[in-house]
Symmetry: C2
Subunit: 349 residues, 2 copies
């Protein structure tokens, strides 16, 4: 993963970036969260991590793992919001949970960015209600960076909104375009609308209306794209509703797992193929890295006033470290996204 800003120096310029990190989100919390925080602190200058969660546990795990408290502070929290919990609880009884507290820090200005590997649904509710949407944004979108043959593209919405309207899809296009340009360094990002065919009249009423809305937006809209096109890097931003986006991204994940399992099978089939692996190892490792979500770290939630990063539920140390990198970089695009949404609104008036 290459950013415009290499996040050795933070984007805030001046005071250090403070990242609120939910120490109890994800399958491997808190140990991998703590190790990821330590790795990020070692790599990124002018950055502080605020770990939220049961202070005693965090302290004892940091000690056990040999992690120093340099640039890492702890804010005590009470319990965890679980995947199976009603996500709305983040607003009320779970406000003091590790995720709720991390949102609270961002909302009150005590932190600049948020990272968690916890419940996506709770994160969408928490980000929207506790931190708040950017002015003019209808709905925030989960915006994972996805692996293509020759590089990453952004998919949005990856699952935050089951039902979408055309104007929401147009906003997704604008936000994704700005992110890809400012943070990922893609010049004039190509924005495509995920659809069942390239012709303008294809798809449901939603796609037909979104086509027009995107055409009238300030992005480089390349029209409809089909489900195989993003993987071929025929676009930089793939826009769709959150239901379709979630099915799409999980389909890609499933095929990624298929590919890895198949490669493993091929190379362990015989003594000869094991030698074959040794001879082809470099390429296999490069491919494996290409499709490894841990390289990316997490998915930004675009349309929230502050950077919010959803890390993969099964994140390990490297994934958390990279999610923190992403959060720090994301700080540099918030203002631009706000301006983009305002410009879109003006064009539509």
């Amino acid at each position: 993963m290459k950013y415009v800003n290499d996040s050795k120096d933070n984007a805030a310029g001046g005071s250090p970036v403070r990242v609120a990190l939910d120490a109890f989100g994800g399958d491997h919390a808190p140990d991998k969260v703590i190790l990821g925080a330590a790795a990020a602190v070692a790599e990124i200058n002018d950055m502080e991590i605020i770990l939220t969660g049961d202070e005693k546990t965090i302290k004892s795990r940091m000690e056990a793992l040999g992690v120093s408290d340099k640039n890492i502070t702890i804010v005590n929290a009470d319990g965890v919001i679980e995947i199976e919990d009603d996500p709305m609880l983040i607003r009320t009884v779970k406000k003091e949970s590790s995720m709720g507290k991390a949102f609270g820090l961002v909302a009150s200005g005590r932190a600049d960015a948020f990272v968690s590997a916890g419940s996506t649904a709770a994160m969408v509710v928490g980000a929207t209600t506790l931190v708040g949407r950017m002015k003019g944004v209808k709905r925030p979108a989960l915006a994972p960076l996805m692996p293509g043959i020759s590089g990453y593209y952004m998919l949005l919405d990856g699952g935050a909104n089951m039902e979408c309207r055309a104007e929401m899809l147009a906003q997704f296009g604008v936000m994704g375009s700005i992110f890809m340009q400012k943070i990922m360094g893609v010049e004039n990002p190509r924005v495509g609308l995920l659809n069942v065919g390239s012709e303008r009249e294809k798809g449901r009423e939603l796609e037909q209306k979104a086509y027009e809305a995107l055409k009238n937006s300030p992005v480089n809209f390349i029209g409809n794209i089909e489900g195989r096109d993003p993987t071929m890097n025929l676009c930089d931003v793939a826009v769709t509703d959150g239901f379709t986006g979630n099915i799409y991204l999980k389909a890609i994940e499933g095929m990624g797992a298929f590919m890895k399992a198949s490669l493993r099978g091929i190379f362990t089939a015989s003594a000869g193929s094991k030698v074959g692996y040794l001879l082809s190892k470099k390429g296999v490792k490069a491919l494996s890295k290409k499709t490894d979500y841990r390289e990316v770290g997490g998915s930004p939630l675009l349309g929230i006033k502050k950077p919010v990063i959803k890390a993969h539920g099964s994140s390990d140390e490297r994934a958390f470290k990279n999610a923190i990198h992403q959060a720090v970089n994301f700080c540099g695009a918030i203002g631009e996204i706000e301006a983009g949404i305002a410009a879109l609104k003006e064009e539509n008036q």
Copy 2:
């Protein structure tokens, strides 16, 4: 691809199965269609092919390709319905086209099954209006057999219906289940509803209602499945609406292409990796076969009175041959699917 009936002997028992084959559908028509027909005739007993299209061209191409007319007859047709044509034209001005004529043969009883690699949209319209839906079927569904880690599963709807109602999804589940059982030999097929999470209340209103409808249907409904689950073979039938299904299947296709391109890249990177390929060739070829649509041949359109097979647009000889195999096998399940739809109706009354 393994069928219950190995299609060496046709399922009609007695008189030969007659397959109407659109000689001008697909990117490689008519040559690959003709070669596929010849290959099928050589493999399947008691089967006749009726090629539809410009008779002169077909005759001269058969001669040039050295294909005999044993068990192959030609029915002259006028023109082709193109991908970019309004699909509704198949009912009127394009009724005499190669696809329209093939449908006509099936509708009039002069053929038992239909195969074409032409426009999917025209095929859905033609099948529905010229051949007709089975009694009680709301909408036919395109039902591709998709590659999973350890075998095939059926996806439906793969793109015939952009907007679906819950009762349509329940019918898709029933039709897919019967096809997988009768034709593919899967005992008690597991039917899953494609959704964004496993919990009952997940998804849009459509999924919530379809969940109930499938639960009350006579299939082995295993509940909601996520986008990666079918590839892991966690279900035998994946049910969704045609918009989502099309995006899903193209996403899978895209990742399949990614995988193949990556393997090629790995093994051609260096002299060493070329040797690596030779040592791992068997496994690579097996994987390649697993994800090759030509193995399957085509996608049945379920819910039509007669077997209708949509072959892939880029079908070659082998793909056409396998699509014809599929059509012949499909003849054995029409009655069962009709009975399944009738039973579903009774359960819901």
